[in-house]
Symmetry: C2
Subunit: 202 residues, 2 copies
């Protein structure tokens, strides 16, 4: 799931780079896309080392992730940045939690490929500056972010329903249903903090 997520992140950042208002920002986002594809290659190599065919392993996640992205196509540069920061932020927090249930070397690999903070700093700075220049942007991006989280949750429920092994990993990792609820609470709190940092309303 993470491997396919990286392949998609590459694809999306490369496409979003075209929305960049100048060559400098375009090169910056393109370079970040380059990091995603390098991460993909590390995960694919690990899947192959475990005896799995990376392509086969990724197939179940193609459809839910496509749905998510089809439903949340950014229509400008700021929406693209907010999607990468807010949407990927929730996803990364989730993967970090799951990494804690894995043994070495998978735990370290997952933590290592999660988005580096360079991108977050870049996206945050761009969004804050846009809000400073035009405060109405905050309202538009707040609504956009709520839509991102709603679509994300909807696809996550679908994946959990179709992949009982993944759902079990999380239930066993957290201990019980109360553990799952605590995990969801941590994800929600982190998301609210990220939104507040951007000057957006949850």
């Amino acid at each position: 799931m993470l491997a396919y997520g990286e392949l998609l992140a590459f694809d999306r950042m490369a496409a979003d780079a075209r929305l960049a208002p100048d060559l400098h920002r375009r090169a910056a986002l393109s370079s970040m896309a380059g990091v995603e594809i390098a991460n993909y290659n590390r995960l694919a190599a690990r899947l192959a080392a475990l005896g799995a065919d990376p392509e086969q392993a990724m197939v179940p996640f193609v459809e839910p992730l496509r749905e998510y992205h089809d439903q949340t196509e950014p229509k400008d540069w700021l929406e693209a940045l907010a999607k990468a920061y807010v949407g990927d932020g929730v996803a990364d927090d989730f993967f970090r939690e799951v990494a804690g249930f894995l043994g070495s070397p998978d735990r370290e690999l997952v933590l290592d490929v999660l988005h580096d903070t360079r991108y977050d700093e870049f996206a945050c700075a761009e969004i804050r500056q846009a809000i400073a220049e035009d405060p109405t942007v905050a309202n538009r991006l707040s609504m956009w972010s709520r839509r991102l989280v709603g679509e994300g949750l909807s696809q996550a429920q679908r994946v959990a329903a179709e992949r009982p092994a993944l759902a079990m990993l999380i239930i066993e990792g957290t201990g019980d249903q109360a553990g799952v609820m605590a995990l969801l609470k941590r994800l929600t709190t982190a998301h609210t903090t990220r939104m507040a940092e951007l000057g957006l309303n949850n």
Copy 2:
């Protein structure tokens, strides 16, 4: 020019990866795009070290290269591969010739960032296999390649006319007009050889 070419090559390969018939090929082309953006970063760093603003240095080449790509938008996976192999093949040969006129470390840097052979082998194998499966593909891709070279030459003449310093570098590097003609002859011969290797008619 080469820096902007790398940024565009990244952009194009990333977009073409979406045309890939399966996840394996998509990941392969995406990874090659990752190499292009790493090359871009090396060239931009060198421009900055020379005291130039990379963005300003690239601006004159944005329009001619955009025109070339707008006029040669691949409509399927094979056209995308042929464009990268045939079109970039001519461009790479040209940059290799120009590299010979430069001193260190620019000569080595340019030679180093030119397309690695991994991509050529990949594109060649895909095109040859497609022709083996359907011989009519050869005719279609031959016509496509002639169009690529025609559009490329047209934009190259435009750049040469607008950038006398670049034209002078080539004339001084080759020695005289006869030297320029000999350079063009080498580019043409190499292009004909590449076409023949693919099973295409020049």
